[in-house]
């Protein structure tokens, strides 16, 4: 657990120092996205990696957070912070209610139900034109402010987003190392044994689904307030799949893995700008190859790879 603390401090230092090195560059704005994606990936990982329950609809919760917060603050003049909180609580409540029937399902059926949920949200973003602006998007979302200090430049956005991201990392680590985290892993490994141990599997799954939706909604609101503009294409099925890819690439069930996965899959397309249209192909390939050859994700796979390449300490047996 102390090693986790060390990692966290190292990460925090990097997060603080990074802008000094990169300030004003284009990479700063990319790092803002890395932070948002990391929050989403960690949120999804709580569900997918820890509790073993897939969701192919998380882009929907992200989108709900972005639209609801944006609409409340821009159309109805609600204070952005308040809008963000109201939205996140409502999204969590919605997830909690929908969660009961959805999480009763298993495997492919669960994947399909969450996917359907995400697509329904996506269609609503597109079709409720009066509210959302439809396919052309919704603009004029005010930035978050503290007093008269507005989060509106790259550097300020970076600070805001990464403060939330680090908070998410810390809280998720705490959760993972607690009785709840253990119960979630237990559900993943053997649902029936977890129940026999007195874990209320059904309730816990729904609670974690709601928590995951809550974090995703916060990430969505942050996205809306920092960008000032949202449009449905950011919240489609493809993005849900990208999120799953981040979690899988980083490693199921590791908080830092999700962070790394989010970083790689956000930076990679930027680095591959020259091959713009190839990114979808690369996503597909990464997804297949990772599942086939490194099912534990980078966080586990890379050390294992080193161990195999450098057989210095051969194990007996």
């Amino acid at each position: 657990m102390n090693r986790d603390l060390v990692k966290f401090v190292v990460l925090a230092v990097i997060a603080v120092v990074a802008p000094l090195a990169l300030s004003g560059s284009y990479l700063m704005s990319v790092l803002v996205f890395v932070g948002i994606h990391a929050m989403l990936a960690i949120a999804l990982n709580l569900l997918l990696g820890f509790a073993g329950q897939i969701s192919l609809g998380h882009a929907g919760f992200f989108g709900l957070g972005a639209y609801a917060s944006g609409i409340l603050s821009a159309t109805y003049g609600v204070n952005p912070w308040l809008a963000m909180v109201i939205t996140a609580l409502s999204v969590a409540l919605l997830a909690f209610i929908v969660g009961f029937p959805v999480l009763k399902l298993k495997g492919h059926y669960l994947a399909m139900a969450t996917l359907g949920l995400g697509i329904i949200f996506y269609i609503v973003f597109n079709e409720a034109v009066d509210l959302t602006g439809g396919p052309s998007g919704f603009s004029g979302i005010p930035p978050l402010k503290i007093g008269s200090f507005a989060f509106d430049g790259d550097i300020k956005n970076y600070g805001l987003i990464w403060a939330f991201t680090m908070g998410t990392v810390l809280l998720s680590l705490n959760l993972a190392n607690s009785r709840i985290g253990r119960a979630l892993c237990a559900i993943h490994d053997s649902e029936v044994a977890a129940r026999v141990m007195g874990v209320n599997v059904r309730l816990l799954k729904v609670q974690i689904f709601a928590l995951s939706a809550f974090i995703s909604s916060i990430a969505g609101s942050l996205y809306a307030h920092t960008m000032g503009f949202v449009s449905p294409t950011s919240f489609g099925f493809n993005f849900s799949v990208e999120l799953v890819t981040m979690v899988v690439v980083g490693g199921l069930g590791t908080v830092y893995g999700s962070l790394i996965g989010a970083a790689i899959l956000t930076l990679l397309p930027e680095l591959l700008r020259a091959f713009q249209d190839y990114d979808i192909v690369i996503y597909g390939l990464v997804l297949i190859l990772m599942t086939m050859f490194m099912p534990g994700g980078l966080v586990r796979g890379i050390p294992a790879l080193f161990a195999r390449l450098l057989p210095t300490r051969r194990q007996e047996g």
Binding site: L48, G52, I54, L56, P101, V102, K104, L105, K106, G107, H108, Y109, A111, M112, A113, L115, G116, L117, I119, I120, I123, V124, N126, E127, F237, V241, V244, V248, D277, Y278, I280, V281, I282, Y283, G284, L285, V286, L287, I288, T291, M292, P295
Partner: protein, 300 residues
Amino acid sequence: MDNAYPMNIVDQLTQYLFSGLASGAIYALIGLGFAIIYNATGIINFAQGEFVMLGGMFSFFLLQSAKAPLALAIIGAILLTTLLGLLFERLAIRPLKSASPLSLVIITIGGSILIRGLAMLVWGKDTHALPSFSGSDPIELAGASLLPQHLWIVAITVVVIAVSKLFFSYTISGKAMRACSYNSRAASLIGIGVRRMVLLSFVISSAMGSMAGIIIAPLTMTSYDVGIMLGLKGFCAAIIGGMSSGFGTVMGGVILGVLESLGAGLISSGYKDAIAFVILLLILFIRPQGLFKRAETERV
């Protein structure tokens, strides 16, 4: 299908019913593909929709660049898609020995993205239309106007379904596939090769999917990304039908197609796709075993 002159409500309903039947037939074909692979392997093949897309796209490009006659282009497209289905099974599914359902979901999603991406790179993002199989003069029927292609769709679907029914009921390979899907271990104990059956299921499903993609392309156009929605709708049909590789899924497709078409006509065409997914969710919540399947008696 917007009409220039107002029809009376009965004619309108008939019209929706007919176009719903045609799209329902397509969903049924795609859904059968899902069900066949699911029954043989326990995998939901999220790449099924891409086979549908490939059918339409291969046909179009064979027609255009190879200047093949329509019938030949169609046969070629089915063969090419089936070949890809076979390759997909060999390269992505077979190497996974004891994978969890989660990794199987992820790998077929990966496959679907990959195929879609490659299609985009090779063929671009434009939408294309196949010519109708036999003209496009509407036919009047019971107050509604139908395109000949609608009839082609229904007819071809009926034939494909009948052939597959015969295959599964009367040929030794078909029976072996059913046996394998019921109990693959017992099947291997009497010499039925499970991997062969899995491969066969991918071959059949990709062929069926490509046919669906081909017969609908003259009506709705085709492009590299049509597979997503069509695939998902097909999956809805299969779920409604309880993942049966027969009657249930066909009914599922028809119900979905008709409800969707009625909903689009009477409520809002923008929410047409949402209607399909609301139906999907309701079925999953209320009767996850599908509408047409008796609750399984528990195995002892």
